[in-house]
Symmetry: C2
Subunit: 215 residues, 2 copies
């Protein structure tokens, strides 16, 4: 059985996965780039980047993934569905290289991008979306790409096998929280924390009995 | 100038410093002992305990402290002020061994305990309470003992020089949050995270230019 995985999902020390005030020019609202600077500084993002613990965690984003599911808020700013030309926030060659299923009430025809990414738009529950993504993933794993609301919904539905979150030492104060309504989640997972010299802490959740990720 | 310090303040991964449903038999509500098991397992708490990173952080609770300030919710369960015999949750010899200033709207005469702890009851703002505690601390540092609301109030007032929090890998889901309303707190502190083999992560805040703690 292919696994359902979350990678590189960054949150502030106070638990926000995105800031307040998301717009076309501020994909993460008032958080800006601050939740992801740890990743930009690694070889996962740039050739001259660091190769330590932040890098080895970051690169796990890719291997073995056959499809991604993302929320409408990751695909674009509030209101993107009113722009027929909107093709996501990543330019002509998005960094997914697989089918990507965008959860939205405003479905539209699929968009084929360069580099193997195709955006599909579906209005579905987490379990239904996962069934669709698994069929497209050809036996590989499915990544849940965020935002926080989508990850929370998949966690609440018991659908996540492996999750890598990154706690960044800033206090955003406002935005969308990851952890709301997940009391007792630790009972189903082995949780490990690994602090990095960069200041972030990698926290992994591995479902008890979920086996190991394919590579 | 003596410093204002927080030590061993444990929070869940979702940021709760105490659980819901605090009572005489459940000092931390539905959290039970889960926020503090990391500390009970060390030599700080028991002779046969561990002596590693959890221990060296835990023992910093004591040296150089001349007084503590705590909230009414740490001193006792909701309603303790209606019990004239209530002397705190720690037995005849509380583990403070200094003057302790309890912030409460229900003041009462001071209570002298064994081992050097005296409980004083004051109805005061954070700044006023600190002035009083500093005078009693004889040049030593003042510890802010919690709970989460009190620490948050002192942080918001800019009064904390050094803070040691411990993130425990559980999701409480409900209770009292530490971090609410503290956006941008990181600007005034050097923040370090140190993960422990026990599973907790020690997160320290050191105020820029606050000097070093006395010992």
């Amino acid at each position: 059985m292919s696994l359902v995985r979350v990678h590189n999902f960054s949150i502030s020390l106070d638990g926000f996965g995105t800031g307040e005030g998301q717009s076309k020019d501020a994909h993460f609202g008032h958080a800006g780039d601050r939740l992801h600077e740890w990743m930009f500084a690694t070889r996962f993002w740039q050739p001259d980047g660091s190769g330590g613990v932040d890098y080895v965690f970051a690169r796990e984003h890719e291997p073995g993934i056959g499809a991604e599911i993302m929320g409408a808020g990751k695909f674009g700013h509030p209101g993107w569905h009113e722009d027929p030309e909107w093709k996501g926030a990543w330019g002509p060659n998005p960094p997914f290289h697989t089918p990507v299923f965008v959860l939205t009430h405003h479905t539209r025809p699929s968009i084929e991008m360069e580099g193997g990414t195709t955006f599909h738009f579906i209005d579905a529950s987490p379990a239904e979306a996962l069934e669709t993504a698994r069929a497209a993933a050809n036996g590989k794993d499915v990544r849940i790409g965020g935002g926080p609301t989508v990850i929370r919904d998949f966690l609440a539905a018991g659908l996540i096998d492996h999750m890598h979150t990154v706690v960044v030492p800033i206090l955003l104060g406002r935005g969308v929280r990851l952890w709301d309504g997940l009391e007792g989640l630790e009972k189903n997972y082995v949780i490990e924390a690994t602090s990095s010299p960069s200041g972030v802490t990698h926290v992994t959740f591995t479902r008890t009995g979920a086996g190991t990720a394919s590579t």
